[in-house]
């Protein structure tokens, strides 16, 4: 899967959770949850949606790797088929 495709999926799912936010404006180092005001419940819903979309289940132990947009993209791109 190309990075642009992956980005599109991430943006779509973030938009479902935070409809008024613009995920494309996030810089790669920014903390997604803080920037978009996503609580722990919504963050879990987001990860469930990502798993459903691309089949990558992120364990809790890896959460700290996916808090930023850059980190999340890296994490997913090496694991997605």
């Amino acid at each position: 899967m190309r990075e642009a495709e992956l980005k599109e999926i991430i943006f779509r799912e973030l938009h479902n959770i935070a409809p008024e936010a613009d995920p494309a404006s996030l810089s790669p180092e920014e903390n997604i949850r803080e920037a978009l005001d996503i609580d722990s419940y919504d963050f879990l819903q987001f990860l469930i949606a990502i798993d459903e979309a691309i089949g990558v289940e992120i364990p809790e132990a890896d959460y700290e790797d996916v808090f930023t947009m850059g980190g999340l993209l890296n994490y997913l791109s090496v694991r997605v088929r």
Partner: protein, 403 residues
């Protein structure tokens, strides 16, 4: 025979708009069935019926905005004869002795009531009538037992402006068309009313305790390793279970301050503060938290959050919370100093779980620590009881496997 009334869906609600009926005359209903949809300042609420029976007669049609307490329909017990049409159309039967209106102190000048008739109106309605120059004896009350409510007086005052009625009853108020909903403003007003009342009436005391969360989180992480991502539990599940456990140990914090006395509730219904993305918050109740398994509680939270954000809560969830829990840990605050939601007597606040130096048994280590706070109603409980509650909460969080 029971009246199905416009419920009070929160300490601050005065009126609601009936949006739709899910039933019609003659339908059989069971306790807990959702039979109507009502619009309030906070959004659309699904209203449940509280007894089994048959819908006998529907009084209020969709679109009408009516004060809290107005009979919306009659529910007749199964097998009972339907009411004659005349009896259901009018106000309460004459045989019922009206409750004497409470004497207003200081008493505003009251219009003279013809002998033999008694006006039922609250002191605040009487005061308003005096201010607006409305004669209470010519108003048809829309409240319980024909009680005159503030809204009736406002309507009568408006109706009276062009041509003051001379000695004849004002026409029954036409159903008000609801203005296009502005839940944002409405929610702010509702929160403002409830919180102002809280600060005015409730003498709060505040207690805080730092809780070592290492054991609870380690247990949770172990659990979540065994689960698929869809079934993962959030720390909030453990926090709510621990609150329920601590309330079983110290029940005084679970309940209400009503009619100048402390009323402890046996059932543990936790109002769970859910913030709305557009601003504002709703604290619907999760029922019987003490009896739910972890998975049931996670499911209940998910269901409640989804429906809260979609604006489809049920009436019981809006009214019967026995305590409120607010979890601001996601935002990074350390401590919550809560405002109690009346008539409840306590609010439990959780802050962020943070790594902190922690000394135990003479050893210093780094632990994940959380501040738990209690805002208590000093009329109902004292700081001693409150600290017993926080102690119990701590104890439960140190034994997560038993929660």
């Amino acid at each position: 025979m029971a009246e199905f009334r416009m419920p009070s869906l929160g300490a601050d609600m005065e009126a609601g708009t009936l949006v739709e009926w899910n039933v019609q005359s003659g339908d059989r209903v069971k306790r807990g069935d959702i039979i109507a949809l009502v619009e309030t300042d906070k959004g659309l609420i699904e209203v449940e019926v509280f007894e089994d029976g048959v819908v006998d007669k529907i009084h209020v049609q969709p679109g009408a905005k009516v004060p809290v307490g107005t009979a919306l329909a009659f529910i007749r017990a199964e097998g009972a004869a339907p009411l004659p049409a005349a009896a259901v159309a009018g106000p309460a039967p004459a045989a019922v002795e009206p409750k004497p209106a409470p004497a207003a102190v200081p008493s505003p000048p009251l219009p003279v009531t013809p002998p033999g008739e008694r006006v039922i109106a609250s002191p605040s309605a009487r005061k308003l009538a005096a201010e607006l120059g409305v004669d209470l004896t010519v108003i048809q009350g829309s409240g319980p037992r024909g009680a005159i409510q503030r809204a009736d007086i406002e309507l009568a005052s408006r109706a009276a402006k062009p041509a003051p009625p001379v000695g004849k009853p004002a026409p029954p108020p036409p159903p008000e068309r609801p203005a296009p909903p502005d839940y944002q403003a409405g929610m702010r007003r509702a929160i403002a009313a409830a919180m102002s009342r809280s600060n005015r009436e409730i003498p709060h005391y505040y207690l805080e305790m730092e809780i070592d969360m290492e054991r609870a989180l380690a247990w949770l992480e172990g659990e979540n390793l065994k689960r698929s991502i869809k079934d993962r539990l959030l720390p909030a599940v453990l926090l709510l279970k621990a609150v329920a456990g601590a309330l079983a140990d110290v029940p005084e914090l679970n309940g209400y301050w009503l009619d100048d006395r402390h009323q402890v509730s046996e059932a543990i219904h936790i109002g769970f503060a859910i913030s709305m993305r557009q601003g504002g918050l709703i604290t619907p109740a999760i029922h019987n938290v003490d009896m739910l398994s972890h998975d049931e509680l996670m499911g209940a939270m998910r269901d409640l959050i989804t429906r809260t954000r979609a604006g489809r809560l049920r009436s019981s969830e809006m009214t019967d919370a026995t305590i409120t829990v607010t979890n601001l840990g996601d935002l990074g605050v350390k401590t919550v100093f809560g405002v109690i939601y009346p008539p409840q007597v306590a609010l439990v606040g959780f802050g962020r779980i943070m790594e902190r130096p922690w000394a135990e048994n003479g050893m210093l280590g780094v632990r994940r620590v959380m501040s738990a706070s209690l805002a208590g109603d000093h009329r109902a409980t004292d700081g001693h009881r409150g600290s017993q509650f926080l102690e119990a909460l701590n104890k439960h969080l140190q034994g997560p496997e038993t929660l």
